[in-house]
């Protein structure tokens, strides 16, 4: 019970940090913000790695493997495409 309470603490505080940070992002960068934050949500890859790396090969590991593929698409695609966009924002 203590564990989950601590997790809820962390979650709520992180939401507040998120609100503070995001409200300062200018509208001109809202698309890169979305794709970049989207890449961050690919952090699920940590869970996927733990699932796929288990000792025995079971249904659980197969699900983990597909999860790795999905999460890696999310992470790699998200960060690369964000970089591609941000490279274009220039001031002359």
């Amino acid at each position: 019970m203590v564990d989950i309470l601590m997790q809820i603490y962390v979650f709520v505080l992180a939401i507040f940090v998120g609100f503070e940070l995001i409200t300062k992002v200018p509208p001109t960068l809202h698309t890169p913000l979305m794709s970049g934050s989207n890449a961050i949500s690919g952090i699920t890859i940590v869970g996927a790695l733990l699932s796929a790396g288990a000792e025995q090969f079971t249904l659980s590991t197969i699900l983990g493997l597909v999860a790795i593929i999905f999460a890696t698409i999310n992470v790699v695609g998200g960060f690369l495409v964000t970089d591609r966009m941000l490279k274009m924002f220039k001031k002359k």
Binding site: L21, T28, L29, I40, S41, G53, S60, G77, L80, L86
Partner: protein
């Protein structure tokens, strides 16, 4: 080792926070994205040292396959296809969360492990949010790509059906807490969630996609957080919460940009959108007056006499890929000493910031792009407002016509400019399904044609002057 891993996760979370903070300015944004990417790399590398990971072959295969697909998509996608790209990436994120939760479920179903109440609840939550994000995002992708109808979809029994699915998920979760490890129950919960994702996004109209994509972005973050709760991993909880907050803020900005509640958007379309398209033919409420149109040469002369121009891009610019022609126009006008700026409505295009990315792609300096509230007072001092492929967001009816479905929506006050030139393919109504009285104003001129062709022709005429 455990302590080192946990501290690395903390460091990685901090990198995410600084990464997003640096997105606060176009000057530092690229560096910020790199910070976040490093945070992710760190998290992945330290996880590989976790004692629970004993086999690596599947991990390597997964990383290579996923990395190759992700990189190919990121390199190949066109800037006009960015809303679809973000939509589909949201989907993969949500899908990954669901899969991890299910994988955990099958680990715990082993008699030697067993579920706590907390496990049952967090797994159910993670499956629900992840699955809704997964199928919802693919429907959104389909709508943007055009193989799922972009229209508002309404059918009888829509709300009772959704409520029923939510009930199944709720009941399933409670049951799963009481009798953990009931496999068919978890699969029912999964199916109901997948279906719910489809049904929640299907009714949303094409031009409301900025809201849908933002909301799904938020869900993909919350799905990651939920997975964090399942695994007891603080970094997932923090990173997911940051993304969840980001998506919610963008969603609210989009709704405010249309003066509509989130519920109104989610339940499908403008209040009268269904009927407006059919009754628009009724002559009684049609704006009266003459519509004047100009050809390229006349338009060029109007520009030649101007000293300040504001360009208002809309979705039509994206469809026609007109951003490069517009860049040339901007350069031509600036060479003549004319001041050119861009006014961007928050809901222009199919996702937040869509217009800005396209104009940046065409190499237009970002300090020329103005948000609505920063430029709206300048229209009265502007000689020419050029509208390219935008409609509802410049309809003055939103300011004064209480009977209009878009009444109260913040609009760009283009009609206050001395001359308004509207480039459109036809006189057709915009997404809201209503006529635009601006076209009948004495200072307004229609300049018909596909945005790219029309602007290119205009450029040629200006060169010849």
């Amino acid at each position: 080792m455990h302590v080192i891993i946990e501290l690395s996760y903390l460091l990685s979370s901090i990198l995410f926070i600084f990464g997003i903070k640096k997105l606060g300015s176009p000057k530092t944004a690229r560096q910020g994205n790199t910070y976040s990417a490093f945070g992710m790399l760190l998290a992945i590398v330290v996880t590989l040292f976790d004692q629970h990971i004993v086999t690596y072959e599947w991990i390597i295969i997964g990383l290579i396959v996923g990395g190759a697909i992700g990189a190919t998509m990121a390199i190949k996608v066109q800037m006009t296809g960015m809303p679809q790209m973000v939509g589909i990436l949201n989907g993969f994120g949500g899908g990954a969360s669901t899969l991890v939760a299910m994988s955990e479920y099958y680990k715990l179903i082993d008699p030697t492990r067993g579920f706590t109440h907390q496990d049952s609840v967090t797994i159910a939550l993670s499956i629900l949010i992840g699955a809704v994000t997964f199928t919802g995002s693919f429907i959104a992708f389909g709508k943007l790509q055009g193989f799922v109808t972009g229209k508002v979809v309404k059918y009888p029994g829509q709300h009772p059906l959704n409520a029923f699915l939510v009930l199944i998920v709720l009941a399933g979760t409670i049951y799963e807490v009481m009798f953990p490890g009931t496999e068919w129950l978890m699969l029912t919960l999964l199916s109901a969630s997948l279906l719910l994702g489809v049904l929640l996004v299907l009714p949303i109209g094409g031009a409301d996609m900025p809201v849908a994509i933002s909301l799904l972005n938020s869900y993909s973050g919350l799905a990651a957080s939920a997975t964090g709760f399942v695994l007891g991993n603080n970094e997932l909880i923090i990173a997911g919460a940051l993304v969840g907050a980001s998506g919610i803020i963008l969603t609210l900005i989009m709704c405010r940009g249309m003066n509509r509640s989130l519920m109104n958007v989610l339940l499908g379309g403008w209040e009268s959108a269904g009927s407006a398209s059919t009754t628009a033919g009724g002559a009684s409420d049609k704006p009266q007056g003459d519509v004047k149109s100009v050809d390229a040469q006349e338009a060029a002369m109007i520009f030649d006499a101007a000293s300040s121009v504001i360009i208002v891009p809309g979705y039509g610019m994206a469809v026609a890929q007109a951003q490069h022609a517009i860049r040339d126009l901007t350069n031509l006008l600036e060479k003549k000493g004319i001041k050119v700026r861009f006014a961007i409505h928050p809901v222009a295009g199919r996702m937040p910031g869509h217009m800005n990315v396209l104009l940046a792609e065409a190499n237009i300096s970002y300090d020329k792009l103005y948000a609505m509230e920063d430029i709206n007072d300048d229209f009265p001092n502007t000689d020419v407002a050029l509208i390219i492929g935008a409609n509802d967001v410049v309809n003055p009816a939103a300011r004064h016509d209480q009977s209009s479905p878009i009444f109260g929506m913040p609009i760009l006050n283009v009609d206050y400019a001395k001359t308004v030139i509207i480039n459109k393919r036809s006189m057709n109504a915009g997404y809201a399904g209503i006529d635009n009285e601006l076209f009948f104003y004495p200072n307004a001129f229609m300049y018909f044609g596909d945005a790219k062709d029309a602007v290119s022709k205009l450029n040629n005429e200006i060169k010849e002057l």
